[in-house]
């Protein structure tokens, strides 16, 4: 026999307990893995996309704002030392007309005879781009859209619909595989014509010599370039999108930490319990000559084994979950995110954290077990007492709470830099959660008195008995209450904050959608506004329609301001009143007049990050070199995460070149007949673009927000389910320990119903005890999140408490507590009196 045999037998004896411990580990690890794998996949997706397109080229020269420029620059770049090849391309987004309207697609115009240093093309069917007209696309994408060789593709371009025959299909490899294959290759000249570039190109891709040093070549190129052109790594194009994802990543990271910490407490609790059950066996081991260190070794080994098993299962489950999360992300971003792949970093981290947390959670129980006086466990007549509850963890908890709150205070008063703060925020949340969990047991006596007062009328004598039983096991009860409390705090706090920002986004969407109709190629993902460019002439056609009062043009241009990637929103302003910008500062009419004169309005996130105020100047990198422009106003903006600069249309064209129109906003005359809308619809049908009424636009935003809220509720429900595991755990444990007492109570004529009522009362007391600090803490947490929104995003959100959320969480806690009591109560009431009396 080995000592592990003993451990294994103990688990087999109590599979439920081992399972619960495993569940705790699995949940924590799975949450962490799924989230970090998804974050990793999403984070890399944009970067990956642009790097795949450029193939072997590791640098690209582009104009500020990604507009067109003269291709002659290529010659001089080509000759530079360290440069193997410089290839001219037109790289742009467009819409490909599929069976259900336009789909996002990338178009790459190349010079077939010169492009090979950058990319390889493997033809599966047909031929490569020989002559001028024609398109080549990936066979998988063609298959998806049911396109065959010889068919043609129709693209939305600033020249209207461009039709190109499909001359070849590519193996889905390399650049052809980018963006889930959604890429069309065409001849450079064809692209120039279709995208109205007039002999210009919009990127030169640089392939380096094998031994060339990237930085020094970049430096060299940079010196060669005229103002307005810049050299960058291809991945830089994805930087803004990455910035935008940061918020989502942050809240996901906080979620995974919460799950990890909650998992750790479930583990701690079930370890404490299973060792509590084994007090006698452990005492026998000690009496037979097991050293303290040896006993600790046995117990920690058990933890490590369970931890490793749980971690393996957790990692597997995590990857499974990441596919679901991946779907949600794709939905949210409306962008093909690469499928989650085995990620060494996340997996390794989990492989250490899982067993590590299991070990950490078992340290205290193992220490306790090995330091308990041997006789306590050995003699039947001695009550096995929990060691006297120590107050010091509570005080440590209080101290940590102060540290966490101080951090929040520093953040709110902007004493620490936002960049630093957002790095530290998940850790700070974890700290707050741990500190609350440690502090709760301090308050248990007080809270249970209140709970007893509340419950006395409905629970009677059984309720009093329940309170007494619970207070006999302060640590166990404290931990259970703490896990439930923390879940409540997170649910109410996060829930409320999310609901608040959802409300704000809805209000923002309502404010900015002052036009009656939008016309665009296709709806881009929320946040990223990139879509196909439409012909500018379409604006005139729309304006000619009867009863159209006014047409506004909107473009979304990726640019740089103060060295940061930003989204420039170019707009043509009309005469009609109505607020196309959701200003937080500045007089509306004045600001718009100023913008018409060439000033800019900044999104709050950008102004906050760069500490820019109204009246300051902001430096924009333009195709004519850097330009200082005055800031006329600040606006709430959710596009591109708020890293936005509003520019007047003509000014934007001057800065970034003509790039077609991304969105037309159409305002109809008051009381315009339905025929006007019908005319618009016909125009859009002809141009294969999308007509969207204001109501539809708001509905789309609403739907996206409902998705967010739905996910939130799902996560909250999941959190509560995990926490209720803790209650089941505690109650089952109490029933086991009280088996003999239950037997006595039954023997002296307590009815089965009364026994289950008593167990049920214990659950309700735990529930009610958690409600008080949970709801209060949740409200405080919601407030803290609210006040820290401003330094992080520059938005001042109105703090509104969501009654439904708060009441819903309370009902959820009480309902789950009652449900958690069901199994233990049944077990207790079905005990045979005789066996209960003999139970040891």
């Amino acid at each position: 026999m080995k000592l592990t045999t003993y451990s294994l037998r103990e688990w087999r004896q109590r599979p439920g307990r081992a399972l619960l411990t495993l569940t705790g580990i699995i949940i924590g690890v799975a949450a962490m893995v799924s989230i970090s794998v998804t974050i990793e996949a999403t984070r890399n997706s944009y970067r990956h996309m642009f790097e795949t397109v450029t193939g072997r080229a590791s640098l690209e020269v582009v104009a500020e704002g990604y507009g067109g420029f003269d291709p002659t620059i290529r010659e001089s770049l080509h000759k530079l030392p360290g440069v193997q090849a410089a290839v001219s391309v037109v790289q742009t987004t467009s819409g490909l007309i599929g069976p259900s309207g336009a789909e996002p697609i990338m178009v790459l115009g190349i010079e077939p005879e010169l492009d090979h240093p950058a990319r390889e093309y493997k033809i599966r069917q047909g031929r490569f781009l020989g002559d001028r007209k024609g398109a080549v696309l990936s066979s998988t994408y063609a298959q998806r859209l049911k396109l065959k060789l010889g068919d043609s593709v129709r693209l939305l371009t600033p020249r209207g619909l461009t039709t190109l025959p499909i001359v070849g299909l590519l193996e889905p490899e390399g650049a052809a595989n980018v963006h889930a294959g959604a890429i069309v290759f065409t001849h450079l000249s064809t692209a120039q014509e279709a995208f109205a570039l007039h002999q210009q190109i919009n990127a030169v891709q640089i392939v380096l010599d094998e031994k060339a040093d990237l930085l020094s070549v970049q430096e060299q190129i940079s010196r060669q370039l005229p103002p307005g052109l810049t050299v960058q790594a291809p991945a830089v194009r994805g930087k803004l999108a990455q910035e935008m994802l940061l918020g989502t990543e942050l809240s996901l990271a906080v979620m995974s930490i919460v799950a990890l910490v909650a998992g750790a407490f479930v583990i701690l609790n079930s370890f404490l319990m299973s060792l509590g059950e084994r007090v006698k066996h452990l005492a026998i081991l000690r009496a037979l000559g097991t050293k303290r260190s040896q006993l600790k070794g046995i117990l920690l080994k058990e933890a490590a084994l369970l931890g490793s098993l749980g971690t393996i299962l957790g990692i597997a489950l995590g990857y499974a979950l990441s596919f679901a999360l991946h779907r949600i992300m794709e939905e949210m971003l409306a962008f093909p995110v690469p499928k989650p792949r085995l990620d060494a970093k996340s997996t390794l981290l989990a492989a250490f954290l899982g067993p590590g947390i299991a070990l950490a959670a078992s340290l205290v129980p193992a220490w306790r077990s090995s330091h308990r006086p041997v006789l306590d466990g050995l003699l039947d007549n001695r009550e096995i007492r929990e060691p006297v509850y120590k107050r010091w963890p509570g005080y440590i908890g209080l101290a940590l709470l102060v540290v966490g709150l101080t951090f929040i205070a520093l953040l709110v008063t902007e004493a620490i830099q936002v960049d630093v703060a957002s790095q530290l925020l998940p850790g700070c949340m974890a700290l707050l959660i741990v500190s609350i969990t440690l502090t709760i047991p301090l308050c248990i006596p007080f809270l249970s008195k209140i709970a007893a007062l509340i419950l006395r009328p409905c629970l009677g004598a059984e309720g009093r008995m329940a309170v007494r039983w619970l207070s006999r096991r302060p640590t166990r009860t404290g931990l259970t209450v703490a896990v439930l409390t923390v879940t409540l705090i997170v649910a109410v706090g996060f829930g409320n904050a999310t609901q608040n920002s959802v409300r704000d986004i809805r209000e923002w969407a309502a404010k900015i959608s002052y036009v009656d109709y939008y016309i665009r190629g296709y709806m881009p993902g929320p946040g990223m506004a990139v879509t196909a460019a439409l012909p500018e002439s379409m604006g005139d056609e729309i304006a000619e329609i009867e009863h159209v009062e006014f047409v506004t043009k909107i473009n979304f241009i990726a640019a740089r301001a103060e060295g940061e990637p930003v989204m420039v929103i170019a707009k043509s302003f009309g005469t009609r009143s109505g607020q196309p910008i959701d200003l937080v500062e500045g007089d509306e009419a004045e600001v718009i007049e100023a913008v018409k004169r060439g000033d800019v309005v900044l999104g709050t996130r950008l102004s906050q990050r760069k500490n820019l105020k109204i009246g300051d100047h902001v430096t924009l990198e333009t195709r004519n070199g850097p330009k200082d422009v005055r800031i006329a106003g600040l606006a709430t903006e959710y596009t591109a995460g708020g890293f936005v600069v509003y520019l007047e249309w003509n000014r934007a064209q001057e800065f970034f070149g003509k790039q077609g129109v991304h969105v037309f906003g159409v305002v109809l005359e008051n009381g315009a007949p339905a025929s006007a809308a019908a005319r618009l619809q016909t125009l859009c049908d002809e141009g294969k673009c999308r007509l969207e009424s204001r109501a539809e636009f708001r509905r789309i935003v609403d739907e996206a927000m409902s998705g967010v809220v739905g996910t939130l509720w799902g996560l909250i429900a999941l959190g509560f389910v995990i926490a209720s595991f803790g209650i089941v755990n505690t109650l089952t444990m109490n029933v086991l320990e009280q088996t003999r007492e239950i037997g006595i109570l039954r023997a002296i004529a307590m009815k089965r119903r009364q026994i289950s009522r008593m167990i049920f009362s214990q659950a309700m007391v735990v529930g009610v005890v958690s409600l008080i600090p949970g709801i209060l803490g949740g409200i405080v947490f919601a407030y803290l999140l609210n006040v820290s929104t401003y330094p992080m995003t520059g938005l001042r959100l109105e703090l509104r408490f969501e009654a439904l959320l708060i009441v819903g969480s309370m009902v959820m806690v009480l309902g789950l507590s009652a449900a958690a009591a069901m199994f233990p109560a049944r077990r207790a009431s079905r005990l045979q009196v005789i066996t209960a009396l003999q139970y040891e």
Partner: protein
């Protein structure tokens, strides 16, 4: 007592006090005691007189309030928990009234446990455990778990376990307290044979005078003190001893 006789146990001025203030109980109130190697000593006395406490102290399961305990030459007061544990592991065997077997392990695994804890390899431990079970008359029950054994069989397992390390001292607290008289008698003769055949030192608590009479010496406790000691080695009959005992209690 001759010069050659070595002491297995020496106890000097031993006291043990539980609790403080109103709940203060003096369970052991100053005991001096020596037990030579190969001696079989029975402890008697009314309930609450401190018999179990004395055994726990000598077994190193509890710490005395004052006084010295020396087992096999090792003074407990100089030992830390690990050293004391090593004494329990290698030099002391315990038999309790409540058997105290590990319910998830088989009889044989229970017996092998002290050896396994000591790092002995599996096969050797298994061999010794089987041999120890055989000595107590259990040959075919090794693979059963305690729940499948009778009380007498369980106590034999416990006895085998306490002897498997060939301890210097066997401590038994009412080893027959939970058994019927026939089974009790079997266990008692097992103990007696151990002393006679293998010079095993035994300190046993019992309420049964007939069992006490099978020892070499009887110590009677009252209120934590030794009130009487009588040696049985000089050939007095059991009946005489019983009569003496009755008058003493």
């Amino acid at each position: 007592m001759t010069e050659n006789d070595k002491f297995a146990v020496e106890v000097h001025g031993l006291t043990k006090v539980f609790g403080t203030g109103e709940t203060r109980v003096e369970a052991i109130g100053g005991i001096d005691l020596t037990i030579t190697e190969g001696e079989f000593v029975a402890v008697m006395g009314p309930s609450g007189s401190g018999k179990s406490t004395l055994l726990h102290l000598i077994g190193g399961l509890d710490e005395p309030t004052s006084g010295r305990i020396i087992v096999g030459g090792d003074d407990f007061s100089t030992l830390d928990d690990d050293a004391l544990t090593m004494i329990r592991r290698r030099r002391i065997g315990f038999v309790f009234q409540a058997f105290n077997l590990i319910t998830v392990l088989t009889a044989e695994e229970n017996v092998a446990l002290p050896l396994v804890l000591d790092g002995m390899d599996e096969i050797e431990a298994h061999k010794r455990a089987t041999a120890a079970l055989k000595r107590t008359g259990l040959t075919d029950r090794g693979s059963h778990v305690p729940a499948e054994l009778s009380g007498g069989e369980q106590q034999r397992v416990a006895l085998s376990r306490s002897l498997v390390n060939e301890p210097l001292l066997l401590l038994a607290d009412e080893p027959t307290g939970n058994l019927d008289s026939a089974t009790s008698d079997q266990i008692m003769s097992l103990l007696r044979r151990l002393v006679d055949d293998q010079d095993q030192t035994i300190l046993m608590v019992t309420h049964n005078a007939r069992h006490a009479a099978m020892a070499d010496r009887i110590i009677t406790l009252r209120d934590g003190r030794i009130v009487e000691q009588q040696s049985l080695k000089n050939g007095r009959s059991a009946d005489q001893v019983l009569a003496d005992l009755e008058s003493a209690l």
